[in-house]
Point group: D2
Chain length 326, copies 4
């Protein structure tokens, strides 16, 4: 299903090559100032512009059809629609015959029994992250928290000053790379989240893995923390507001925000679509054959993903804020 949240709830729809994609945002506090320009600004950050991003350009013009009156949320669901305009009508039929490695072509065909809209990746397309960003922009308008993100690794590159030349090499190789993004949320209330099945870290984890291409998620020190002993890992409380000396736990203890910065890292796998020739099973020939994927693709989707992670985190926190902060 395509809904997330309890008191702040979003419902997504759309596929890459249909008329529109969109989102219904329910539970926005009446009286929240809704600034269309901020939605546009966040969508702008997601757009492919830099080296390593797809040549498919979409206007991504958000249209609000309901739920806003005189610039304020009415308390009714806010519906935001984005039309798909830049659609190249090429033949995707062959994907049934030759499912692309790393893509959902094979599972989609099994699951939806051939009825899925396979054009441009259909519902598995990264396009669906545009309404997510729009919904997250609204979530941020409801919250007093500050959201930041930072790419800390692309492929094997950790020095972000060399990113353009590194990606030019990848483009030349007709290949792709993944990356790791760190998200930081500041000024967070104590008390967001609750055991056993509404823990804030668990909700953030679920949301992050809902974003296409995410394959790893960790808080604070993350997996590296395995090398620390308890005496080193434990974050020492240093004042009565819950401030800790270190933040190895990433701002969440027992599933509940502890007032320190929430810090997590997300691994985004290398973009599946590459220009290089690949092998895959050919269902018609019943043998492994060579495949050349056409279309327009990012070679480093991670370059556009930061705002998606950030805004998706905001969706989770908006729901938690409504639930736990009175």
């Amino acid at each position: 299903m395509n809904s997330y949240g309890t008191l702040f709830r979003i419902t997504l729809y759309g596929e890459s090559h249909q008329n529109a994609i969109g989102v219904v945002v329910d539970g926005v506090t009446p009286g929240t100032r809704i600034d269309l320009e901020r939605i546009k600004a966040d969508l702008e950050l997601r757009k492919p512009k830099a080296i390593g991003t797809t040549p498919r350009k979409e206007d991504d013009e958000p249209i609000i059809t309901s739920g806003v009156f005189n610039g304020y949320a009415t308390g009714s669901p806010i519906h935001i629609m984005i039309e798909n305009k830049n659609i190249k009508s090429k033949d995707y039929e062959h994907l049934k015959k030759q499912p692309r490695p790393g893509h959902a072509d094979f599972v989609a065909n099994e699951k939806y029994r051939g009825f899925q809209d396979y054009r441009g990746g259909g519902r598995f397309s990264g396009r669906l992250t545009a309404p997510l960003v729009a919904a997250g922009a609204i979530a941020k308008m409801m919250l007093p928290y500050r959201f930041e993100h930072e790419i800390i690794q692309i492929g094997t590159l950790k020095d972000m000053t060399q990113i353009d030349s590194y990606l030019e090499d990848i483009i030349r190789e007709k290949d792709s790379v993944g990356g790791i993004i760190k998200v930081t949320i500041k000024n967070v209330d104590i008390g967001l989240g609750e055991p056993m099945f509404e823990k804030l870290d668990a909700e953030l984890a679920k949301m992050m893995f809902s974003i296409p291409a995410v394959k790893g998620f960790e808080f604070g020190t993350g997996f590296e923390g395995v090398n620390l002993k308890g005496s080193a890992f434990n974050d020492v409380l240093i004042n009565d507001k819950g401030k800790t000396k270190t933040n190895h736990s990433g701002g969440i203890t027992g599933g509940i925000s502890n007032g320190n910065d929430i810090v997590f890292k997300v691994f985004i796998k290398p973009t599946s679509s590459i220009s290089k020739e690949q092998q895959t099973f050919d269902f018609k020939e019943q043998d492994i054959k060579t495949l050349k994927v056409g279309g327009r693709h990012d070679v480093a989707i991670v370059r556009r993903a930061g705002i998606i992670l950030e805004n998706c985190a905001a969706i989770v926190l908006a729901d938690a804020h409504l639930k736990y902060i009175k």
Copy 2:
């Protein structure tokens, strides 16, 4: 809240030092053979026995009060209760004054305004994982899949043949360590999970972070995959059943199980409770003071956690199986 699942739904209750902990398991297919011995066997795997585990011994005798008739699930909720017997009634009041580093003491006190049952960690105690294991044992009775787990790292140790002597050192240091566990699920159907907010990886992620002390989660190659290019990362399909040459994606594509083994790794942080002296903020003295945590603790909870992860994964898959496999 303390419920998880849509068609297979568990509801947990209990605190460390109250009369009982337990779980209501709803949605079990009527006619499922319920074998109490298998529940006991899984609970046995969670019990502290080896070096590095807590001296608090509990019988963990599961009592089924309803939902089973003549050895089969009736279709009504199955209620399993486990009494808390081995409770040491010592004074925990001081935890309000001196919240333990790495523990939920501080956030619990803020969130529950002093009304929480703080004895033995209350609802944040690892004891709550016993009913999770019991519920997961029932989930496994409904599923044709095979679940396995393996500790791949404890502290800095990767060679598991040396585990006892390594942990004896940690005990001598009055410290603790975390670890990394790999879970593998075999013989999985194609088609479990669904975009956008019921993806199988997202549900597994949510469940894993619901388990106390989990701080990292990754599929297949996990974060290491950042060093691979797309051409190397993409799993090549080699037959018409969806079998892939490699399994970098850990058995899930686009949020949907692809028929290959589901493989994920979980990072469990070092046990927070250590015998070593630590610093923490003292709310009475309004200054940072030394704290000595008493009680009975694991120094490597990871040694008992494998069955918890495995059975929690089974809970997720039981729900997915009911939803997606007809």
Copy 3:
């Protein structure tokens, strides 16, 4: 919130005088034939045409923006949008001052603190039933059941051949009437619904009271059954398919469909908006004053409501069908 359903889930949005109203229909079985003409035909039945219905005419042209490909459901959410075109921009500001009796003006203003879109009743408008009808039309495409409805009383009138002349009198009196509608569902599977909180009658009850103006709901004999003793009320089983001699229980036993026709009656209160002068509290004058409600209204909304009840019942049954019939 504005979502209903577990496996078949609809999410509504819209307000009377904003750009659009619509619905996202999630969980439609991939491969379901989606016939836009049937959606239009059902919307046509809801339109005001007969005597006693509002002069506000809307095209109610459903636009499907996603989820349908080559005429079949893809498995992705289906989004149906209906633009609001025939909007009279008059002044509704006075409703804050003089809340209309029987309307939600007062509670809306309290609850949404003045931010609600009060034009034309906003989200409380009967317009929102148009996307409900559209969603129900899709539900019916998934189901092998037959849905029928029948007005059995309008105001004090029980002989439906006199309806036009009866309503002409009501119009002359500048007043309005309510009514009772009977819905029958045929060819229903045994086994829909489940104790304790997914009973089919309970779900139908919830859905019916979600429809504006509904104030009563009863199965089979309904309240009249109080005059029967158990020996007369009990429906006697007459074959091994569950067929009963009578159907006092309205086709549902223990919350589960029993294979006989599902029969229920719904009471729709008299339309609140009347042309006649009424009294109400004037918030500016701080006294009870006379109010004259303008605008365009139905005097017997019940005349258009049958298709709404029928299609809303289909929404409930589509969800139940996906849950309980394998």
Copy 4:
């Protein structure tokens, strides 16, 4: 499934003849005073004592195993268990052969494929209303509202002073009767409930039909209101607190509580189990045969149902209160 509620959530378990029935009550505000005596007092009101009630006597001793500490709710789920003690182990096997008219025997056997615990009605037994009453007692401890109920009709009897002699006649006839109960909730906040699918009347409707034997539900005037015109039905606002001159709408407008008393009526069908001989289909003989139902039964369950309705309403209002009143 057996859970109800979003922020205040109850999960029921149990069957008539198993070891225990019970309920997990999640979301109770930490610090709520939990008075076991009030739970017992409400359970007492449900007990069979008066003429026309069953001879099966149960202690109905509620045991709280968790979630309460020093007399206050901790914020953890409260688990209340009631043991089944007075169980007569007779043979119920024949119910598969001869399903009782008006009972769930037939549908249960179809749905649960013979695995259901059919003893004493299993999960369809009225026994399950005991934990509902207990959960409702806790809900009332969280709420500032007052709950009342009143039987307004039993069988054809409307004068409640004659109830004992009337029921003695019914007992002599070996028959049973139903009834109508009116519930009133006073001192209610304005603003509980929300369109489109969290309307307070819809939630109350769902809850009431979840109670065994309920077949009709109406607000305010109920179905009788069909005889009123709009000018008479509309409740005139008489002050700025939302007080209305009449209360035909039963305290709810547009799905939202309007601050007047919430008033609704519930029709409970005649008890299905009667001592009189009845006809039913015999699955062994494959023909309609005579059946004599043994066991211990109420002839007027309505006599004990008031507290059930009242407390179930409290469950709905506790959830709404947490959602809508800050």
